[in-house]
Symmetry: C3
Subunit: 347 residues, 3 copies
């Protein structure tokens, strides 16, 4: 990281309630408490690591407001409301330095079809393709080798990283961030079995992604059979996730890597899904539900559910079953012993 | 959807056995029975929703031939052999309007190497790469940013969507449709462990995809170690599926999203695999077998098998085991109670 | 395969301890014992197939040194230390013929930003993008449509296949081979939940890939929150694998397709992970551990562990539990019978 922040800037960014000590080391980067050396900024984000503060060689340490610590020589302690959030604000500043806003304009090697509308403040990077009728909003950035299909609509302040594919008719609202290789608008997987063959059901709907959604690398979202597949405001989707046709995802959900959601399923707001979980089609997952990693959900979940397992059970029950499951060899022996004893008693 | 269909055209496409009522609303689009409004066409594809017909605001409704219904005011009911198939035919017509056949020719920004053969009726879109010795058949469409490697062969009427990669020596027969980001011909995962290191076994085989196969976004199919990895006629593969080297897939199979099939495994015809299932290597899955989602298959399956679970069991047994599994806490208590009673009786 | 190898060349490549018979058929290709015909070379790599040697129509057969066999008419048997390794050496030679070293230089359609450094012996294929400040080492080959971000560093003799994305600041050391569609340096999945919204934690670290690593098609490796995500020397990663931010992977690991490794987890050297397994975050997997396919690992594993299941158990225990699990219907009946008998005895 080639970054440049003064102590004054750090102070202004994290707004500490109080500080102790000071340092003459210029800021060099961010590191964990144990990995940090001179010039590094570190932080206590998880109480689990509090024993590492006293011996950390970091020059700058962000700590919770009530944490009791003595600065070492040439060390600056900042006591902040929430060290993780304060660190995130510093990272945001570093991110601006690392990924400065690109100059607006369309790169000479990009192909923008006649009839596409690109806002003057947008940046279209090298070797992008924008088909006819597509719209790209203000300050939106297509980094490189992205594809925007016919009549697709992209709002303001979006960032499409290299290799993103947004197929025809699909819509991104504002501040949507798509990691490399995301595919939006592939055909839904729909066939009718006729005469011994799978006959394609054409998929003529769209995908609509609302404000402030982020989607991880190489994830795929299928267009609806007709109508729309949609992702609600503020939802975050990790890498290699599969969203099938006609799925409706609510607002502020978190969907971890390699999750698969089958067709026409609905997630209400604030649903959290752990990695590699799978959801059947045509079900509804109630608001605020949590689904543990690798679970299989085959039926509707009430709001506030917390489930685990394949097929899933209530979390506590699944945990209990898992503990007992490994005692099955013992249980079979116990039942065998009982049977022997009863047989012996009968003789 | 910007589509234009007259009532006469709809009548000609769906070939109803009979009709009731009529409508003056111009066709606007397709919607579910509950979501539809004036101008929308809807359909009863699943008996589960039959209660929604009477109150649907759709102007046009496709119904099964024996369904008993009165048209509402300004509503046109069409009784057809199979409403889902009739709808698919309408969607196919809409699809032709949305994705009209592109004009043939090679886009100025595409790179076609000397010695590649592109049929005059083929369309090579912007920023595609075709390496030397490759062949592209009649009316085949490379939409944009696709890659076709050295000596690869593509038949007639194929559609490679943006970002598809077809590596050297691989073959697509006719009417193959590849969704965005599909990779065909990546190296198989083969190594020999020699001297404490994994030494690469070069993968010098190919992948052959037969007629009418469709493959979903970002799926990956590895080339064979030598000989070929193959997918049979009419098989449909969903998104993010992994097909390892030397796998042989039969005709008319259905493979749902995120399935993984390990090396040298064979699927006979008409196999159906649910999402996220995993198949071990070097096994054979018999004709017409069904594998439920998230299952693990580690041994051959007889034709017509229906399995579920990780590791998989016959479907009915797995369902039964899953019901009992959640009663394990109770079972352990019951066995404990029996033991106590026996101990008490012994005293 | 259009390949050309004389018998003398084959002899020199495999260095047999002894041979029997000979053949006049020119070398045509490689095939399994049962599929081979005249001109084909075959091998006995797995004792399971030893019964197929006597009837194989292969013209050339690689056999273990102590294997007892009579050559058929016009058949050449070569007895070698390790037939699989010998075959791999032949495949390597074929690979050199199929993928000859490309001529150095930058293709006219590639976009290399001012300030990027490309070694004179490197090959930059059509429609690649190299951003400012990036470095590409000697003899490294970017095949086509690859992306190399700002200040990324690629060492010598790497091969980036079509559509690979190496984001800003990330590092590949030497002889790294990336299959098509690999994404290195996507953002880690990190958010703080503040005021009812998921607020992005900017990910400003990097990814560092050590010597001789190979990564499969469409796999994704996220950049660290700060510091680095890293993959150790000689490790091999299959297709569609997800590596989250701050993961540290040791040397000479094998990670099969569709595995997911959550944030900040560490793999020591020589770990082997079967397909579709999932690892929780912030755990350590000890040296030489083996994790079976579809397993879930939620806690540290001691060196040399061998685990299976979701959640995982020691392999032998999991196998035993799986055998008993399918006997649960019987066990419930047995316990019911005991209870009835006790009740009957009590009366």
């Amino acid at each position: 990281m080639k970054v440049d922040l003064t102590l004054e800037q750090i102070h202004a960014i994290v707004e500490p309630r109080s500080t102790r000590g000071t340092t003459t080391e210029p800021f060099r980067g961010i590191a964990s408490l144990t990995a940090a050396g001179p010039g590094d900024l570190s932080f206590l984000g998880n109480p689990k690591y509090k024993g590492e503060v006293a011996t950390s060689r970091a020059s700058i340490v962000l700590l919770p407001p009530d944490f009791v610590a003595e600065p070492q020589a040439n060390q600056w302690l900042l006591f902040v409301e929430n060290p993780s959030v304060a660190l995130a604000r510093i990272c945001a500043r570093i991110e601006q330095q690392l990924w400065p806003k690109p100059a607006p304009g369309i790169h000479a090697t990009a192909h923008v079809a006649a009839g596409a509308k690109v806002a003057p403040s947008a940046t279209i990077g090298p070797l992008c393709v924008i088909e006819a009728g597509a719209t790209v909003g203000e300050r939106t950035h297509l980094q490189a080798q992205a594809f925007v299909g016919r009549d697709a609509i992209i709002g303001d302040d979006c960032w499409l990283m290299p290799g993103v594919i947004l197929a025809a008719e699909c819509v991104l609202k504002n501040r949507v961030r798509l990691q490399p290789g995301v595919v939006i608008g592939s055909d839904g997987f729909g066939y009718e079995f006729v005469g011994g063959r799978h006959s394609k059901v054409p998929q003529v709907g769209q995908v609509v992604i609302d404000d402030d959604v982020e989607i991880g690398a190489n994830s795929t979202l299928d267009r609806a059979r007709f109508s729309r597949t949609s992702v609600g405001e503020g939802t975050k989707i990790d890498n290699l996730v599969q969203i099938a046709h006609n799925v409706v995802i609510g607002r502020h959900c978190m969907i971890c890597a390699q999750v698969g959601i089958s067709g026409s399923t609905t997630l209400e707001d604030y649903v959290v899904i752990g990695g590699q979980a799978g959801l059947a089609g045509h079900i509804t997952v109630g608001r605020g539900s949590k689904i543990d990693g690798q679970s299989a959900v085959n039926a509707d979940l009430e709001p506030g559910s917390f489930v685990k397992g394949s097929p899933c059970l209530p979390y506590q029950l699944e945990q209990r079953v898992n503990v007992l499951r490994r005692k099955l060899p013992d249980l079979f022996k116990r039942v065998g012993a009982i049977e022997e004893q009863i047989a012996a008693n009968a003789n």
